[in-house]
């Protein structure tokens, strides 16, 4: 986002709004991972502790989810950049 057209007070406020949004997004991502990995990995409620299998499953689930998110973000940024380039090339 460009901050040049806003006064410093408005910039500060915008910054706060953006931070709050990022925080909520982060929390949503976290609980999303927790729910998905729990539903996928934990099916055995006969034991109170996590078994080794469940631990590895959870680790894998979290890693994969974050890597996946990262990969999707990268692809999305690429696509975005291409689209912007096309738009700019088209507008010339």
């Amino acid at each position: 986002m460009d901050f040049s057209q806003y006064s410093p007070a408005e910039q500060a406020q915008l910054q706060r709004v953006i931070e709050k949004k990022q925080m909520t997004d982060f929390i949503k991502l976290y609980s999303g991972i927790v729910e998905r990995c729990f539903n996928a990995c934990c099916n055995d409620f006969t034991s109170k502790t996590l078994s080794s299998k469940e631990e590895t499953c959870v680790t894998n689930c979290a890693d994969k989810f974050l890597k996946h998110a990262e990969r999707v973000g990268a692809r999305f940024a690429e696509q975005n950049a291409e689209a912007m380039k096309d738009a700019q090339a088209g507008s010339r």
Binding site: D44, F45, T46, S47, K48, S51
Partner: protein, 461 residues
Amino acid sequence: MSDSEPAPPALPKPPPPPPDRPIAQIFNSLGIPKAVTNFRPRLPSRNWLIFFGVTGSVLGAYIYDRRECKKIRESYKARVAHLALEPLASHDMPRKVTVYTCKPPGDEEYERAMKYFKKYVKPVLVAAAVDYDIHNGNRYGALSKDIADKIIARRRVAAGIDPEPANQIPIPGQLTPAQKRAREAEAGIVIVGRHTFKEFLHGVKEGWSASLEPVDEEEELAQALSLDGVFDEPEDEETDPAHGQTTRLAPPAVPQLMPHLLHQPSKPRKTTIPPHLDVTPTSIPPPAPLLLVPFSNILGFRNIPFMLIDLFNERKRVRAGSEAAYNLVMGNSRPFTQDDIDFNIEQEEEYLKDFNELPDEISKTRRKYYEELAKKITTARELSRGTRPPTKDETNYPPPTEVELRAERMQKEKRWRNNLRGWSILHTGSPPAWDPRFENLFRVYIPPDNEAGTPVRSEGQ
């Protein structure tokens, strides 16, 4: 023949009736009818004789037996009744014995030994005003576990790991734990039947040999089961080198169950108790003297004739039970000998073949269960992952989910293992648990006039 027409031949005249006896004549003239004076007693017919004979004998045997039972019971009650009349201070409590009973092997009814105690032993205890506390084992091996747990709890309190259990509200006249233990030690333990005897010895041995670490057995079982390859999927084959065999959801997981447990890499349990406290004691504080009550439980269709014989011989059991209770009340006891280990060994002949073959039956049931389980797991996973839509039946009657299947498996495994543990304690021919520390530890109640024993306490409390 001078008769021209056939005439009826003349019948010979009947002889005149003999004259009545003089006494009959007198009574008849007094008005007593002849039916009474001519009365001749006659036996009933042969068939009626047979009927009355059979019915009368059966009824007579039954009634004789039950009357004898009553006589025997009343005689023993009379011999101890003087103890009930002794005065008791207001804060004192009567003598309280502990009674151990168990589910008899092969029997569905788990309270049979308890009912036996209540029918044959309890009346004399009630007459002597001796209180009792029954602990019944509702499943095979349950009593042994209870006894072991109690002993371990006692050891933990003695070692200082657990605080002494104190009541919130102090009741006047309440005994300190030391006084309670002293009362228990002189009170008496009643053991009904050889199966209870074996479980008792097993429980005492376990209690005094086990470590003081608190063990959550369900948790351990759950962890052991989760390492079995039953719920694994084919993709895990590469990442799971521990399972040498197939990891498909197939029965081959089953035979591995028992040896699998033995080869578990034992995770070091986190010790919460300092090692110098977690020591197996070298000597056991002597428990109360034991009253060994013989018990008999005939089961099976083919044994019905023996059951009928027992029906007419109840007096034997009443005598045995009342005499045992009398010995307990009088308190004369002798040290335990090696012969007492074979107490009531004839009871083991009565165990049904089904009970003695329990391990085979359980392994068959296990095999079948795991075969069925494989299919159920695949269905559950397909439905939960949405690989295929549910059929109409599955929508109306949803099949169990994977969580439910695991829980069910856990319950079944728990039950099978407990039954096998009970079987190993109880089956015909299994030796009762014995520990070197048991030498000179136990005492057994005997009749009061028997000089072989030394009275634990004087007659009457």
